[in-house]
């Protein structure tokens, strides 16, 4: 016989108790492992989803503008496509879908993705299943696709075509694509809403023949890094640049498709020229509405700003060509006025003037007659006459005189005046650049290649993006569901561990005399503890192993819940269980360790009792005074936390959980003291006798109360954190809107409304926001937002000081104004919603971080607002950081009371060309709240499971108690008690424990959650809560009644005869 033999005998002999312990550990393991599995499964599902949607795409080469399709040749395997956002309308039903991903593809795309023959042809369009469903479209139906019309010239510049921003294409639905392989570049868990359009059709309709804006690049083994390959293969044309050789001045002219050269490109152009020993001449050409001298004027004249040659010497000087001087009757020294249009960032066309002194009059020959100073302006430079001009700004044709037409006929865009470059830049420079061309002298054959090499294509907007790597990173998720479900399952786990400890304790108590015998036979207390610990270890390991199966079941159950009951929390049904060995091992290890810890905790009390005491079945409890003291301290600390949370010194959730836990601990300690001190004294009948039984094993009783109380606490308190549809986070705006195509005009002005073809809407006010598209940083997106959407409101909005803030740096009176502050170190001040910061961006107030090379600092956190998906920065910073971003694509809309629906309908219809999609702010806020409330429901459901476990444990404990006290029961029977009396005794004990647990949980929850209820606008559904708790009590008592009936069914009087 060895110790192990004794161990084996013990395990087998006490199999019932051991099985209960084992099941407890298995449950804890299952809960922990299952929760970890959920985290891993969500990540793996997101990973699978994104990989499936990317197909063979590893990286992309992309540009906001278009580039040569042939560029694809250097990147095999690869395919050129057009990627756009658009609005799709079902032609017959009029159903619209905004925010649709539009992909221009051809057979190369099918081949690249391993789906040859899948590409649409002609006027055919393939719709993704979700989009087809949304529109109710079937094969053969006609749809209207509205996309932004590409414009190399910035819309927010004078020559940008603001009223022709979109293009509508009529297409026929060919097939609703293969659902399993729907391509998408967006990392989002929702359904793919995409239209796959023939590439050639899209190129033709967008007037971009042979051009695309994206190349999908597959993995090529052994290939050089994509950036390097791109740097080697791109051409200047691919980044919208061209070099013209101008014979007359004898130079190269670097020009841009956008008609302005950006600062980064200009810097590269200058440095390249310098490195080759070449000279440069910066040119800024602008169109003046008039050059005026006295009462005479020349309409619509090209003016060029230079720093050399023809340029005047002084900043206020102007050189007129002799034709202009003659027309104006001006001579050197006279003052001339230039009048010109400027498109400012306030979305309005301004007419401004500038005064000059005529410094020179130059003959209209040679360099002065060079029409190539002017860039190519669509609608102007190609016109045969001035009257044929079709510019995107108003022209007064009546001002044009025959002489002007003659000048146009003969000299085209040759400038009529020259000013200093610095003056020209000051007057006409924009965020897009302040040069229209750069001339390089003398023309060098080496310059083009040198510039191409020197220029980083990414700086010019042509970037290689490792989408697969980025998407996989994003698939790690904004939210660690494993962590969440560990929290959500916490009380379930605690219940399981309490039950584990409880059953182990029962086992130990059952064997108290055995322990005494072993002590009498010379086993030291340490040795006995080791034996029991070893037993516990065997049970913990077995439970851990068994728990692996439970973890799989629990994980599968939670994922089923996420796909169905808790769909709102994740917004996708594409989550599946991914059995991960590390997660299961982690759960098993944690279950074993916590199970063993629970056993060790139970064994800790064995030491103080002497062997004789153990032989007599004696138990010892710790000093009661200590419990009083700890309980009192816990109550004081809980009160401090509640007060701190109430006054905003502590996060409400942290305050609640801290205070609640402390109150629970205090309540249990006080109850322990009370029960040990024989708090129930009177015996007035069977029920009172049953209540006295609560004191039979005070430790067990307190454990039971703890089990019920902790789960009740969770269930009762969660409603305090529910959002009740409060509108505080809307800022008082009834509607918000997203536009697929940017609105360049201000709909608040008459001119803007006229340009947008929008009728005046009384009492409606728009707050237009600039938008840099990016990832949704709200709880609606499961993917980790790598590059969140950035919004920039107008300065007036900041001064309106709407919306409530959870916190702001320096406790600013109007935290919005912090966006305009200049921060030390150059970080950009940003504001985000507190929820986004906490759960999606994982940032704190005052934290600095870098996104796409820009350093931001969170200066304020909004409280539960509609801005949960983005970062907000000032318009000034926005335009500096994202100069290429055009117009306004997000709007808050004030409407007259009760008119929101009508205004929404009107705006949606009137601005449908822009894909203007309105939504009540309350609805968006409610969708965020729904996610939050769903999480609470999840927490509540799992807390409920904990309560069920607690109730089952209570019933098992009761049965155990009855079995232990069979002799006592038999004695009562012997002295005349009837079975119903015994039933009443046992049931009274159980009901007392159950009700004490429920009451303790409810009272602690009410005390701890009170500040949250008042501050968050939560409401406590007293009736439903009461019904739930009554159901729990009824279930608990019913299960106890069954257990009691089973235990009392045997012949009790036999117990008097047996030992």
């Amino acid at each position: 016989m060895r110790i192990y033999t004794l161990l084996a005998r013990n395990l087998a002999w006490y199999w019932r108790t051991n099985l209960a312990v084992l099941l407890g550990v298995a449950t804890a393991t299952g809960v922990l492992g299952g929760a970890a599995l959920v985290g891993e499964s969500v990540r793996a599902s997101l990973r699978d989803l994104v990989l499936e949607r990317l197909g063979n795409t590893d990286s992309i080469i992309t540009r906001a503008g278009f580039f040569r399709e042939e560029l694809v040749g250097g990147f095999q395997p690869a395919t050129p496509i057009i990627v756009m956002d658009g609005v799709v309308e079902h032609a017959s039903s009029g159903k619209r879908a905004a925010g649709v991903q539009v992909y221009g593809v051809d057979e190369r795309f099918g081949k690249f993705q391993g789906q040859p023959g899948d590409a649409p042809h002609g006027r055919e369009v393939s719709l993704s299943a979700a989009l087809a469903r949304e529109l109710g479209a079937k094969a053969g139906d006609e749809i209207l696709l509205r996309v932004a019309k590409p414009s190399a010239i910035p819309l927010e510049s004078l020559h940008g075509r603001k009223d022709d921003a979109g293009r509508t294409i009529r297409l026929t639905v060919g097939q609703a694509g293969d659902h399993s392989r729907e391509f998408s570049l967006r990392t989002q868990q929702g359904d793919v809403r995409a239209a796959y359009v023939p590439l050639e059709r899209l190129q033709r309709d967008l007037n971009q023949p042979g051009k695309v804006n994206t190349i999908l690049v597959g993995r090529a083994s052994g290939a050089a890094p994509l950036e390097q390959r791109l740097q080697e293969r791109y051409t200047l044309a691919d980044v919208g640049l061209r070099l013209r050789t101008l014979e007359k001045p004898g130079c190269l002219s670097l020009e841009s498709d956008s008609a302005v050269i950006g600062d980064a490109v200009a810097a590269a152009a200058f440095s390249t020229a310098k490195s080759l020993g070449l000279h440069t001449q910066s040119v800024l050409t602008y169109l003046a509405n008039s050059i005026r001298f006295g009462k005479r004027e020349i309409p619509y004249s090209v003016v060029t700003a230079l720093d050399s040659g023809l340029a005047p010497a002084s900043q206020d000087g102007i050189a007129l060509n002799d034709w202009a001087a003659r027309e104006l009757g001006a001579k050197v020294g006279d003052r001339a006025t230039l009048e010109y249009y400027v498109w400012r960032s306030d979305a309005r066309l301004h007419t401004e003037t500038a005064q000059f002194r005529v410094e020179r009059i130059v003959p209209l020959t040679g360099e002065a007659a060079d029409p190539d100073f002017a860039p190519d302006y669509p609608g102007i430079t190609g016109s045969r006459s001035l009257r044929d001009w079709d510019p995107p700004f108003p022209l007064d044709m009546s001002r044009i005189q025959p002489a002007d037409e003659q000048y146009w006929d003969r000299y085209r865009t040759a400038p009529k005046a020259f000013v200093r470059l610095a003056r020209g830049r000051a007057l006409w420079g924009t965020r897009f650049g302040s040069l229209t061309s750069i001339r390089i002298f003398p023309p060098s054959a080496a310059y083009a290649e040198a510039l191409r090499t020197a220029l980083d294509p990414a700086q010019a907007g042509l970037a290689a993006i490792p989408v697969r790597v980025q998407s996989l990173q994003a698939a790690h998720g904004a939210t660690d569901f494993g962590e969440y479900f560990v929290y959500f399952s916490f009380f379930l786990m605690v219940s399981a561990l309490l039950l584990t400890g409880l059953f182990f304790k029962l086992g130990i108590e059952q064997r108290t005399r055995e322990i005494g015998v072993l002590r009498a036979l010379g086993f030291s207390a340490a040795k006995i503890r080791r034996i029991f610990l070893l037993e516990g270890a065997v049970l913990a390991v077995a439970g851990g192993v068994m728990g692996v199966g439970a973890a799989l079941a629990y994980g599968a159950l939670i994922l089923l819940g996420l796909r169905s009951w808790w769909f709102d929390a994740v917004g996708t049904r594409l989550l599946s269980l991914h059995a991960s060995v590390p997660s299961l091992a982690l759960g098993a290890a944690a279950g074993m360790i916590t199970g063993l810890g629970s056993v060790a905790w139970t064994l800790r009390g064995m030491q103080p009792v002497t062997p004789r005491g153990l032989l007599a079945g004696e138990r010892k409890s710790g000093p009661l005074r200590w419990r009083w003291m700890v309980g009192t301290v816990a109550v004081i600390l809980a009160a401090a936390l509640v007060v701190a949370a109430h006054y905003g010194r502590l996060d409400q959730a942290a305050g609640f959980f801290g205070a609640g836990t402390l109150l629970l601990v205090a309540a249990l300690l006080f109850q322990s003291v009370w029960l040990h001190a024989r708090g129930l004294r009177a015996i007035g009948g069977p029920v009172a006798l049953g209540l006295r039984s609560v004191q039979y094993r005070p430790g067990r009783s307190v454990l039971c109360i703890a089990l019920i109380a902790s789960a009740t606490f969770v269930i009762a308190s969660l409603d305090a954190f529910r959002r009740d549809g409060s509108l505080a986070g809307t800022g008082g705006y009834a509607l918000l809107a997203n536009a697929e195509l940017p609105l360049i005009h201000d709909p608040n002005t008459e001119a803007g409304r006229a340009a947008l073809n929008l009728s005046p809407l009384e009492g409606v006010r728009f707050i237009p926001f600039r938008v840099r598209p990016g990832d949704d940083a709200s709880c609606l997106n499961l993917y980790q937002p790598r590059n969140p959407r950035i919004l920039a409101p107008p300065p007036a909005f900041l001064r309106d000081a709407r919306f409530a803030f959870q916190g702001a740096e320096g406790h600013a009176a109007n935290p919005w104004l912090l966006l305009e502050s200049k921060l030390a170190g150059g970080a950009i001040p940003a504001i985000a919603d507190a929820n986004s910061l906490d759960y999606a961006l994982h940032r704190k107030l005052g934290e600095e971080f870098e996104l796409a090379g820009v350093r931001y600092r969170i200066v304020a956190a909004l409280q539960d607002s509609v801005f949960q998906g983005e970062l907000i920065i000032s318009e000034e910073n926005f335009l500096r950081l994202f100069p290429d971003s055009q117009g306004y694509r997000f709007f808050l809309v004030n409407t007259p009371p009760g008119k929101a629906d009508q205004v929404a309908r009107t705006l949606t219809a009137a601005l449908s060309d822009y894909g203007f999609d309105t939504q009540p702010t309350a609805a968006l806020l409610a969708s965020f709240h729904r996610v939050e409330n769903t999480y609470l429901s999840t927490f509540r459901a799992l807390g409920g499971l904990g309560l069920v476990l607690g109730t089952v444990g209570l019933a098992a404990l009761l049965m155990r108690n009855v079995l232990e006290r069979r002799r006592e029961m038999a004695l009562l029977r012997a002295v005349g008690y009837r079975r119903r009396h015994l039933f009443a005794i046992v049931l009274a004990e159980n009901a007392f424990l159950l009700l004490m647990g429920l009451a303790t949980g409810v009272v602690c929850a009410a005390l701890a959650a009170a500040p949250a209820v008042s501050a968050r606008g939560g409401h406590v559904p007293v009736a439903s809560l009461a019904v739930l708790l009554a159901l729990v009590a009824a279930t608990g008592i019913a299960s106890s009644a069954i257990a009691t009936a089973v235990a009392l069914r045997s012949q009790l009087l036999d117990a008097l005869q047996s030992e």
Binding site: R9, N10, G516, A520, L521, G522, F523
Partner: protein, 223 residues
């Protein structure tokens, strides 16, 4: 030699300390046997447990061959009980999960010598007449048989002191006779000091020395 000198024992109660023993003294040489009698609650078992290292005295000392078990560590005290003392309790206290042979071997599990305990256990069980019940569980034995197993278990480590607390209290007359005979015979054979607590005069009469516990103190029987 067992020396019990001036042993006192008090238990704290809500109404003040309860004195069970007040200055009890005894001494026994190797091979001696004695019975201690007294009414219920007189402190007989307490004295027995104090002598066996199961319950520390409030005052006084206990030494066995000059060794005071209460002046040592818990580990040494356990080793003392294991190697020097054998106990037989009124209700045998066998481990229900173990067989007869295994129950006898339980004390050997914490011994660190190389003795052939299984053989010794078999021999002891043969001596108590249970050689054919080695693999039986306690539940399959009669009360007398259980007590004989408990006796064999008490002797497995060849203790110098054998302490029995009402060893025949739960037995019928025939079984009680057999157990008491075995007790005396085996202790004599092993030169063990045997102390039996009983309020069975017939059992006590078989012992050469008899004491009575009255008023928390020991008195020679009949004195």
């Amino acid at each position: 030699m067992l020396e019990i000198s001036n042993v006192g024992k008090q238990y704290p109660t809500p109404r003040g300390p309860l004195t069970v023993l007040a200055g009890a003294s005894l001494s026994f040489n190797r091979g001696e046997a004695a019975a201690i009698m007294g009414p219920s609650g007189s402190g007989k078992s307490t004295l027995l447990y104090i002598a066996g290292g199961l319950e520390p005295p409030t005052t006084g000392t206990v030494t066995l061959d000059g060794f005071n078990p209460y002046a040592t560590s818990e580990k040494a005290l356990a080793a003392f009980r294991n190697q020097s003392v054998g106990f037989v309790f009124q209700d045998h206290c066998l481990l229900p999960q173990c067989s007869v042979l295994e129950n006898v071997l339980v004390p050997a599990l914490v011994g660190n010598d190389q003795a052939d305990y299984p053989a010794r256990a078999r021999e002891l069980l043969r001596q108590v007449g249970l050689e054919d019940r080695l693999d039986h569980r306690p539940a399959e034995l009669s009360g007398g048989e259980k007590q004989r197993v408990a006796l064999a278990r008490a002797l497995i480590r060849q203790p110098r002191l054998l302490l029995c607390d009402e060893p025949t209290g739960n037995l019928d007359e025939a079984s009680a006779e057999m157990v008491s005979r075995l007790l005396l015979e085996l202790s004599r054979r092993n030169e063990t000091i045997l102390i039996v607590v009983t309020h069975n005069p017939a059992l006590a009469a078989r012992f050469p020395k008899r004491y009575e516990l009255r008023h928390a103190n020991l008195h020679p029987a009949g004195a």
